[in-house]
Amino acid sequence: MFSLTDILSEALGLILTWDRGLSEIVMLSLRVTLTAVVISCLIGLPLGAVVGAFRFPGRGVLTVLLNALMGLPPVVVGLVVYLMLSASGPLGVLQLLYTPTAMIIAQTILVTPIIAALTKQVVEDLHVEYREQFASLGVGAFDRITALLWDARYSLLTVALAGFGRAVAEVGAVLIVGGNINHVTRVMTTTIALETSKGNLELALALGLLLLAIAVIVNALVMALRASAVRAAYA
């Protein structure tokens, strides 16, 4: 029914006739996703590092919780954020529903557990190696966390990429809280969903290819950074 050639030529056509509408959608996708990933890192990296490096009551429960939250269904997150931001919800006065900010909030909730749980694992492994040396040098709690995060920075880039992957591919949550409003909250994934529902499957797949290409570029950039680091044996 559909040939790969059709889809590829459609995708190529998209790129060749690149218009303002398309770049608006692509830029909004990147803006929402990257902002959500940055905020998730600001929360998830220290949180994961603390859970990974310290022993404290409730640590086991927190670990299980973080791991479980990694599997949060986006639609559920979307609904919860919708209920919070709805005019009749507790945060309705902020009037954030159907804005990119609402999408960023939803994606941050989705991505933070991933960042935190994976950071915990990375930091825990590194801390096994560093623990006695830190104790011997008398490194305080704050310096420990920052040193572990800094020394694990290249592994943590991969962690951030995992979060980016989840966020950029996500449609369920941003559809509900963003509303897929043209020129306002329409991103690549919601456009793909819309074009699919219009029966424009070639266009939907072509947009999917474009999304994939963007994800590949972002990953390649980060990996290039990491590869040079591995060559220098920092990681």
């Binding site: 709805s86 005019a87 006065v93 804005t99 960023i104 920075r153 409003i181 699919t196 029966g199």
Partner: protein, 274 residues
């Protein structure tokens, strides 16, 4: 070096976020809760720029199923409700969520089917008869199953046949639980009959070999209505701008814009305000 990159990335994204917040702060837009049929058919892309050009009011459309659109509007998340399920709309107004309901336009529902026509319904006008035949042949029938306007209309017609489709759900009667487009994609792939509004069907890009099998019954009439969300119930409603939009849609100019919208030379919606 790397730290600098990360910081500048963070800074630029936050800057972008801040700017977007500022851009949204303007008051010159309204949110319209509407249905997928109006959006997917391309009607809004045709009429909204005309309205915005004239009034400077931007219209942000959230296109979901009628059931969800009404629920969202009842939560106060929208200024105008523009859907197609008259009984539910009247209930919305009666409950105080809406100010008043006005007819805007209509089109009709059709039943599309595979060329093989296993139930032999092609060309039948009497929709109750056609549905009965589909049930007797146990030919696959894909239903939205999502409490949308189309779904409500479909269930009303099944009720007239006296067939309890809920009892055979999962057998030949299949509820996709999705929007019109998704149901068309799914239904055509499984060779099922599907009831859809004509506008969505004409604009749908993945028809395959499917054709309209049943159409023309007065019972398939599909009326769209427009309602201003009640500002006394939901204080954030932009009543003035919302009323401006409703007035325009109901005006001669708005009605003409609706009548003017055609896909493949076919008019999709027929204005009938007033």
């Amino acid at each position: 070096m790397i730290r600098c990159h990360l910081l500048s990335l963070a800074a630029s994204t936050f800057l972008a976020l801040g700017l977007s917040g500022a851009a949204q702060a303007g008051d010159s837009f309204i949110v319209v809760q509407s249905t997928t049929s109006t959006q997917n058919s391309g009607l809004f892309d045709h009429i909204l720029p005309i309205f915005t050009e004239k009034t400077g009011i931007e219209v942000r459309v959230v296109a979901v199923g009628t059931g969800q659109a009404i629920q969202n509007a009842a939560n106060g998340d929208g200024d105008v409700l523009f859907v197609h399920a008259k009984p539910a709309e009247e209930k919305f107004v009666a409950q105080g969520h809406g100010v008043a309901r006005f007819d805007v336009m209509y089109n009709d529902f059709v039943i599309v089917g595979p060329p093989a026509d296993p139930a032999g319904v092609a060309g039948i006008t009497d929709v109750v008869d056609a549905l009965t035949r589909i049930a007797e042949a146990e030919a696959p029938f894909a239903s939205r199953g999502d409490d949308s306007g189309t779904n409500k209309a479909e269930l009303r017609l099944w009720a007239e046949t006296g067939i309890d489709v809920r009892a055979v759900s999962g057998d030949w009667y299949r509820e996709t639980g999705s929007g019109m487009g998704a149901t068309l994609n799914t239904g055509t792939a499984m060779g099922a009959y599907i009831m859809t509004d004509r506008a969505t069907w004409i604009a749908f890009g993945n028809k395959g070999s499917y054709k309209i099998a049943v159409a023309g019954d007065a019972k398939m009439f599909n009326q769209y209505g427009i309602i201003l969300v009640n500002p006394e119930m939901h204080e954030n409603v932009k009543a003035e701008a919302g009323q401006t939009f409703i007035d325009w849609v109901l005006s001669d100019e708005g009605q003409a814009a609706i009548a003017d919208y055609k896909v493949d030379g076919q008019q999709l919606f027929f204005p009938n305000a007033g």
